[in-house]
């Protein structure tokens, strides 16, 4: 009878992260959560895809905390929201005949819609990604960008700040006006998610 204890859907950590029990996080030791981040059910985060070659700057000037730096596959900032079924995966490529994955960096207040697949290199802060979006390998999205539903961002694309992108393949279709940036704050969304 003790099969269903009174547990909520989310595990809440000391730093305020709300992580669903039904998400699939692989390689937890290589993932950094900045705090107050929501991870919903069926989200896949691939922390096991670590960088396999040392970064060029550290090979010239090796520092003692080198090992710690290289052990991060996915870094996520504060107040991020990952909707149901999205996938975060560090991008990989071959350079000079050596294949390696590279860290996926996500800043603060990033919203990722349901079913989206993120293989970007960097997502800036206050980025809103809609549902069913595919962000290609090594894409760089700067701050305050809105990606419309179903967009496919090609590999290596760089999206400047305050742009709206959409389409297959994604193009810049508009700009975010100065007054519109209020909707990007995810603090209220974080508060609304919980076990009750």
């Amino acid at each position: 009878m003790s099969k269903k204890p009174a547990k909520g859907e989310y595990i809440e950590t000391d730093t305020g992260n709300k992580v669903s029990r039904k998400c699939q996080i692989i390689g937890t030791t290589n993932i950094i959560l900045g705090g107050k981040t929501v991870i919903q059910a069926e989200v896949i985060i691939r922390g096991d895809l670590l960088r396999s070659v040392p970064s060029s700057s550290s090979s010239i000037n090796p520092s003692p905390n080198d090992k710690q730096q290289s052990a991060v596959a996915v870094a996520i900032g504060r107040y991020c929201f990952f909707s149901r079924g999205c996938a975060l995966r560090p991008p990989g490529r071959s350079t000079k005949g050596v294949f390696s994955h590279y860290p996926l960096k996500i800043s603060d207040h990033v919203f990722v819609g349901p079913g989206s697949v993120i293989e970007a290199a960097i997502l800036g802060s206050h980025v809103h990604i809609g549902a069913g979006v595919v962000v290609g390998k090594f894409a760089i999205i700067k701050d305050y960008v809105k990606v419309l539903d179903g967009a496919i961002i090609p590999a290596n694309m760089v999206i400047p700040s305050f742009s709206i992108v959409g389409g297959r393949p994604a193009r810049i279709v508009g700009e975010i006006a100065e007054g519109e940036v209020d909707g990007f704050d995810l603090r209220d969304l974080w508060r609304s998610i919980g076990n009750n």
Binding site: Q24, I26, I44, R46, D48, L49, L50, S52, A87, R89, G92, S94, G97, V98, F99, S100, H101, V117, E119, G132, V134, G136, G150, I152, R168, P169
Partner: protein, 191 residues
């Protein structure tokens, strides 16, 4: 839960794995027909291979990513069975990205099937095709070699890019890296 491929007490399908196959512990192999996986092929966690309706043959130097589903999802017609339908046959150096659904009869060498693309039942992809994210290949369709399917179903031929041994070599390096990163457990799937 909507899971068609993992029945509670599904018997393990007969498998033929190479000693150099990298297969994640929580990949899912199910069905009743034979699943054959070639050498230096890497299978990410949460990849699904379903051989309930027809066998699956995967070549050497392939990479199958998480959430992708390979294998016929519905029964094959009797006419196909009489012709000795070999089920899904995937060539060498094929990359299947996250969430793609592959029900093709044949996927040629060096094909890339990107995120959430769908290859319809019984379709044939020629060598070195590339199916862009969210693109769909209709069932029974025959796609000539070097075709790139992109945008909203647009097609073009592209013979540029690396192919042959160079491409196989690149994917082989990727598989080598994955061998170190993925917790491989071939014993679990061996029958």
């Amino acid at each position: 839960m909507r899971r068609t491929s993992t029945m509670p007490s599904a018997p393990k399908p007969p498998t033929t794995l190479s000693s150099s196959t990298v297969i994640a512990d929580n990949a899912s192999l199910s069905g009743t027909h034979t699943i054959k996986i070639g050498s230096n092929t890497a299978i990410h966690p949460r990849t699904k291979l379903f051989s309930g309706n027809a066998p699956i043959t995967i070549g050497n130097y392939c990479i199958l990513s998480e959430r992708s589903i390979t294998g016929y999802q519905s029964a094959i017609p009797d006419a196909e069975k009489e012709r000795g339908g070999g089920g899904v046959v995937i060539g060498n150096g094929v990359v299947i990205e996250v969430g793609a659904v592959v029900e093709a009869k044949e996927v040629g060498d060096g094909c890339v099937i990107e995120v959430n693309a769908r290859i319809g039942k019984g379709a044939v992809l020629g060598e070195h095709c590339r199916v862009s994210p969210l693109c769909i290949v209709a069932p029974e369709e025959v796609v000539p070699a070097y075709t790139v399917i992109y945008g909203d179903g647009l097609r073009r031929l592209d013979r540029s890019g690396v192919k042959g041994d160079v491409k196989i070599d690149m994917i082989g390096r990727q598989a080598d890296v994955l061998r170190r990163l993925i917790l491989s457990n071939p014993a679990k799937f061996q029958s």
